[in-house]
Symmetry: C2
Subunit: 224 residues, 2 copies
């Protein structure tokens, strides 16, 4: 399948790397290809720059956001929560009719830890994205755990923990479930329509508190 990933960070790298392993035709979209490749410094978290990563993943092409959206039948949105909506609105036509997997979280760390959510309670970033792209089948998924766990769930308790998904289109949710199963997910809990993105995004503050208490991000919620 032709898959696109928007965003060159940890989450984008995790999905793109796993999807290409599974035989999909994968591109990664970025705002400015040459600028992204020109960065040779480690990022703020000390991780190697994307330009290093892409050298080790020759089968993956780095393209513009627009070319990525055109390429993908399924598109993963792995952009930061504060910039995603603006980028996606510009891709409205290219994304029409397609499945968009929304992994974003509207976290705002401007007041330090714990972060607050820039969209919350009676709305969610997932709903805002669906509203901005009415022709696109938005599926909220993977936003409630660390990037490595998203694509390698077996590394935590042999996959005995939960992937939540939400969205208005059952066919699109089935597509995303298939991809999730190919990653190794066993417990996939469909929470209903895109309104359920509220609950999925509002779990992030306690996720961060648990990470802080346990000193690891390699965990996930299981429903006991």
């Amino acid at each position: 399948m032709k898959v696109a990933v928007l965003g060159t960070g940890m989450v984008g790298q995790a999905h793109a790397g796993k999807l290409v392993e599974h035989g999909h035709k994968v591109v990664i979209g970025t705002n400015n290809v040459s600028k992204t490749l020109a960065k040779t410094e480690p990022n703020a978290m000390g991780r190697p720059p994307f330009s290093e990563w892409i050298k080790r993943h020759k089968a993956i092409k780095l393209v513009t956001f627009s070319d990525a959206a055109k390429h993908g039948e399924v598109i993963f949105c792995a952009l930061s929560g504060d910039g995603a909506l603006k980028v996606l609105k510009e891709l409205k036509t290219d994304l029409a009719g397609k499945v968009l997997v929304d992994i974003t979280n509207p976290l705002d760390f401007s007041n330090g830890f714990p972060p607050f959510l820039s969209v919350v309670n009676t709305d969610s970033l997932g709903e805002q994205i669906q509203k901005a792209l009415p022709q696109t089948k938005v599926v909220k998924a993977f936003n409630t755990m660390n990037a490595d766990v998203q694509v390698a769930p077996k590394e935590v308790a042999n996959s005995d923990h939960e992937l939540f998904i939400a969205g208005n289109d059952d066919w699109a949710k089935t597509k995303v479930k298939e991809i999730a199963k190919s990653y190794g997910w066993k417990n996939i809990l469909d929470l209903g329509d895109i309104k359920s993105a509220r609950g999925m995004e509002m779990i992030l503050p306690i996720w961060l508190m648990i990470m802080n208490a346990k000193k690891t991000s390699k965990f996930n919620f299981k429903i006991a």
Copy 2:
């Protein structure tokens, strides 16, 4: 130990019943004792009225909120989220120096399902209660699962799931942990100071969505 429970609903009944079984001297506080006992109709959820329940629990006294607050060394706040703060402010003097276990959730169902939170994101009901009662040691706990699971965790996956607690006073948290262990809790995760009540309250929307999806309230979050 002398324990008081504020609130005569499912949560109050669950804790009072369990605490008296364990040999504590338990009172339940209500706004108006004779009015509470005069209700003989099942409640909105079809449960028998409190007046029936108290007949089967002769060792538990029903008293006014103020008498309950005076009686308890540890006081459980099992009031509804929309009324709790007003009641507690009036008990400020009686609650000074004591441990207050805050089980409340600021859920507002006025717009239907899913509910929104009346306090959220950069504040929490737990923090508001601690701020209103600076002399009281507020410990947020038990708000993230159904009343039956709160006091009988073994009935779900033999207690292999999480009780989150948060509060500013370590001694008070130790007291609450001891009570929780007496209920059968094994995994108790201290999330830090009362600010962590934000994350604990913001988990409620997804809890309700999971209940909706699974058609049961007898579950809890486990950290895998």
